[in-house]
C-alpha cells in the first residue's frame, strides 16, 4: 500500500473531503460526550435544534457566521499566498478599535457615508496591523507565524489599556468598555427583532468578489502563483514581495472588517470580549473550505452552527459548551487528513 499523488482531484472528491472530515470529527467527539454520561444522539439532536431549529436559532447562527466568513476569508487569501497569518484575532480588534474611534462621533457624516467610511477605516487598521509582520517577513526573513501570534497579545493589551483610559465610557459604571458608537454609524438590521445585521450581506458580497478576483483576474492568478511556488513566480517576473504585501493588506483588512462589523452591527461598543476567538476559528473555516472563497461561506455557517448549537445543548445537559471548541479543533485536524486523501490515492503494491 502506498500513496500516489493524483494529477487532478475530481470535484466530487473535493466536495466530499470536508463532509468526511466533519463526520469523523462528530464521531470522535461522540466518544467525549459519551464519556460525560450524556446520551450522544440526544446531545447532537439538541445541538442541531439549537443551531437551525427555529427562526431565532437560524438568525443567531447567521449572526455568528458573519465575522467567521470574514476571518475565514482573511485566512484563506493569506494561506493561498503561503502567508501564514495567525494574527486575525489581533487584526479584528484593531478594526474594532478604529470603528469605535471614528464611529463614536469623531466624523460627522450622514449614515450612508459614515458607515462605509468607518468600515474602510476598520479594514485599514487591520491591514496595517498585518503589514508589520509581512514587511518583517519579506525584508528580514522573520517567520510571520510567531510575530502575528505574539501581536495578538500586544493588541489585546493595547485595547485593554485604551478601554481603561482614553476610550473608557464615562457612563459605563466603571466597566472597561468604550462609549457606544453614533446611532448613524450602526448597521441596519436584516430581520426585525433579531440580532442579524447588514454585516452578513457585506461578508457574502466580499466572498463572491474575492472568488471573482481569484478566478478571473491577473491579481488572483499572481497570488496563486506566489503561493504555489514563489521562486518560479519571481523567475516569471512577478513582484513577489509586493504581492505578499498586498495580500497582507487584504487579509488583515478582512479581519479588521470583521471587528468593525461586530461593533457597528452587533455590539455597538467595544469590550475585551468582543471576539470569542473568531480569528483562530477563521483558520479552521478556511481549511474546511480548502481556501476557496465560496467554500468559506459554507464552512463559516457550519462552525457558527456548532457554536450556537453547543450553547443550547450545554444549557440542557451537563456537557460543557467547550465541546464546540473541541469539535472545531477536531474538524480541523480531520480536514487536514481528508485533504491529503483527496490529493493522493491509495495504490496497492
Amino acid at each position: 500500500m502506498r500513496l500516489e499523488p493524483r494529477n487532478d482531484t475530481p470535484l466530487a472528491v473535493r466536495l466530499l473531503a470536508p463532509v468526511a472530515a466533519v463526520v469523523a470529527a462528530l464521531a470522535l467527539c461522540a466518544l467525549l460526550i459519551a464519556w460525560t454520561g450524556a446520551p450522544v444522539l440526544r446531545a447532537y439532536g439538541l445541538l442541531i435544534e439549537g443551531a437551525v431549529g427555529s427562526r431565532f436559532a437560524l438568525t443567531e447562527t447567521l449572526t455568528r457566521a458573519t465575522p467567521l466568513i470574514l476571518t475565514g476569508l482573511a485566512a484563506a487569501v493569506a494561506f493561498r499566498a503561503k502567508l501564514w497569518n495567525i494574527g486575525a484575532e489581533g487584526q479584528l480588534y484593531m478594526g474594532a478599535l478604529a470603528a469605535v474611534v471614528l464611529g463614536g462621533g469623531m466624523l460627522n457624516l450622514p449614515s450612508w457615508l459614515l458607515i462605509p467610511a468607518v468600515m474602510l477605516a476598520g479594514m485599514a487598521a487591520g491591514g496595517v496591523t498585518l503589514l508589520g509582520p509581512a514587511v518583517l517577513k519579506t525584508r528580514f526573513g522573520v517567520d510571520e507565524v510567531v510575530t502575528t501570534l505574539l501581536l495578538n497579545f500586544v493588541v489585546l493589551l493595547l485595547v485593554s489599556m485604551l478601554l481603561e483610559g482614553a476610550l473608557k465610557d464615562p457612563m459605563g459604571m466603571g466597566w472597561p468598555q468604550s462609549a457606544p458608537v453614533d446611532p448613524a454609524a450602526e448597521l441596519p438590521k436584516l430581520v426585525e427583532r433579531t440580532r442579524l445585521h447588514a454585516g452578513l450581506a457585506v461578508a457574502l458580497g466580499l466572498a463572491v468578489l474575492l472568488w471573482l478576483i481569484d478566478t478571473r483576474t491577473i491579481w488572483g492568478y499572481e497570488n496563486r502563483a506566489v503561493g504555489a511556488n514563489p521562486r518560479a513566480a519571481a523567475f516569471a517576473g512577478m513582484p513577489v514581495s509586493w504581492i505578499m504585501l498586498r495580500t497582507a493588506l487584504l487579509s488583515g483588512g478582512l479581519a479588521g472588517l470583521a471587528g468593525a462589523s461586530e461593533v457597528l452591527g452587533l455590539k455597538g461598543y467595544l469590550t475585551l470580549d468582543l471576539s470569542p476567538g473568531f480569528g483562530y476559528s477563521g483558520i479552521v473555516v478556511a481549511m474546511l473550505a480548502q481556501l476557496h472563497p465560496l467554500g468559506v461561506v459554507g464552512a463559516a455557517l457550519f462552525i457558527a452552527g456548532i457554536f450556537v448549537g453547543a450553547d443550547a445543548m450545554s444549557r440542557a445537559m451537563p456537557v460543557p459548551n467547550y465541546i464546540a471548541d473541541v469539535l472545531v479543533a477536531t474538524s480541523l485536524l480531520c480536514m487536514l487528513v481528508a485533504g491529503l486523501l483527496a490529493r493522493y490515492r491509495l495504490r496497492r503494491g
Binding site: 467525549l32 460525560t36 494561506f79 501564514w84 495567525i86 518583517l136 528580514f140 526573513g141 522573520v142 517567520d143 507565524v145 510567531v146 510575530t147 501570534l149 505574539l150 501581536l151 495578538n152 497579545f153 500586544v154 493589551l157 493595547l158 485593554s160 489599556m161 481603561e164 483610559g165 483562530y280 483558520i283 479552521v284 481549511m287 451537563p318 456537557v319 460543557p320 467547550y322 465541546i323 471548541d325 473541541v326 472545531v328 479543533a329 477536531t330 480541523l332 485536524l333 487536514l336 487528513v337 491529503l340
Partner: protein
C-alpha cells in the same frame, strides 16, 4: 535609575527570575528538540495548557505531586504523538497542524476542567511544590532544579550520544540518515514526543509550582514566546537557557517597575514588553539564523 539598581541587587528579584525562567526553559528545550529533528511544533501552546490542566487535575484527584508531573508529561507526549503522526509520516503542513493541536489541547483542557468542576467560581487549589530550604535565590522548587538539570541532559544527549546524532541528522539531512539505516520517521516521532513531554512539564510547573490552581488562559502566549526563544538561541540548549534567563530578567524587572512607575504608565505597557521583546529578538537574529536544514520539510522515502 537607583530604583532599578536596588531591584537588581535584591535576592527576591533573582528568586523571581529563576522562577519565571523555569517554564520558558522547559518549553524552549522541548521546542528545540522537535525543531532539531526537523519538525516545527506550534502545538506548544496547547500542549502546555494540557500539561497544566492534567498535572493539576491528577493532584487534585489525590495523586501525589510527582505522579501529577509524570501524568502531565505523558499527556504532552500523547499530543506530541498526534502532531508527529500528522506531520511526519503523513507530511501535513506543520504550521496548520500545530495550530490545530494547540486548539485541540486548549479546548480539551477547558472541557475536562469544566466537566469535573462544573461551577467552580473560585478555582480550587492544591498544595504545590515547596521551595527547597536553601539560602537566597537558591530557594527554588524541585521542578526549577529539574528544568536546569534537563538543559544539561538535553545538551549531553544531543551532542555526545548516538541518539542525539540521529536527531540532529534527521533534522539536517534525512536522506543521509536513511542511508545510514536510521528510520527518519521513527527518530522524528520520538523527538517530537520527548519535546512535547517537556512542554507539558512547563505547563505543569505553572499549576503545581508557580501557582496552585488552574486558570483559563493561564499559559497566555508563553508557548509562542518559547518558539521565538528557540530561534533566538539558534537551536542550542545552552543558548536557550541563556535566552530564557535573559527574558526572565526583563519580565521580572517589568513586574517590579510596574509597582514603581505604576502611576505614570498604564500597567498594560509593561505587560506588552515580553511579547514585543520576543519579536525584537526574532528580528535581531533573523538574518544570521541557521535553521536546521530540513526544518518543516516533510521526508518521503525515495523522493527528492
Amino acid at each position: 535609575m537607583t530604583e532599578i539598581l536596588d531591584i537588581l541587587v535584591s535576592a527576591a528579584f533573582w528568586t523571581a527570575v529563576l522562577r519565571i525562567a523555569t517554564p520558558y526553559v522547559l518549553g524552549t528545550l522541548g521546542e528545540l528538540l522537535c525543531e532539531r529533528a526537523g519538525v516545527l511544533n506550534l502545538g506548544i501552546e496547547g500542549i502546555m495548557t494540557l500539561g497544566a490542566m492534567a498535572g493539576w487535575m491528577a493532584v487534585y484527584q489525590g495523586a501525589d505531586l510527582w505522579t501529577g508531573v509524570l501524568f502531565a508529561a505523558f499527556c504532552g507526549a500523547l499530543l506530541g504523538l498526534l502532531h508527529a503522526v500528522l506531520t511526519v509520516p503523513l507530511g501535513l503542513s506543520q504550521h496548520v497542524t500545530g495550530i490545530g493541536v494547540t486548539l485541540l489541547g486548549t479546548s480539551l483542557s477547558y472541557f475536562v476542567y469544566r466537566l469535573v468542576l462544573p461551577q467552580a467560581s473560585t478555582p480550587p487549589t492544591v498544595t504545590p511544590f515547596q521551595p527547597l530550604d536553601l539560602p537566597g535565590a537558591l530557594a527554588q522548587t524541585p521542578l526549577t532544579y529539574l528544568a536546569f538539570a534537563l538543559v544539561g541532559l538535553v545538551a549531553y544527549v544531543l551532542y555526545r550520544t548516538p541518539v542525539g546524532l540521529a536527531v540532529r541528522m534527521v533534522g539536517e539531512n534525512p536522506a543521509a540518515a536513511e542511508a545510514q539505516g536510521l528510520s527518519v520517521t521513527g527518530v522524528r516521532i520520538g523527538a517530537v514526543m520527548a519535546g512535547s513531554a517537556l512542554m507539558a512539564l512547563a505547563g505543569a510547573f505553572l499549576t503545581l509550582s508557580a501557582f496552585n490552581a488552574f486558570f483559563f488562559n493561564m499559559v497566555n502566549g508563553r508557548g509562542w514566546i518559547c518558539v521565538a526563544l528557540v530561534v533566538f538561541a539558534s537551536w542550542r540548549p545552552g543558548k536557550a537557557l541563556l535566552g530564557a534567563l535573559l527574558f526572565a530578567v526583563f519580565d521580572a524587572l517589568q513586574l517590579r517597575l510596574q509597582q514603581v512607575a505604576g502611576g505614570v504608565l498604564p500597567y498594560q505597557v509593561f505587560l506588552m514588553m515580553p511579547y514585543l521583546l520576543s519579536i525584537l529578538a526574532l528580528v535581531l537574529v533573523a538574518r544570521r539564523a541557521s535553521y536546521p536544514r530540513a526544518l518543516m520539510v516533510p521526508y518521503r522515502k525515495g523522493e527528492r
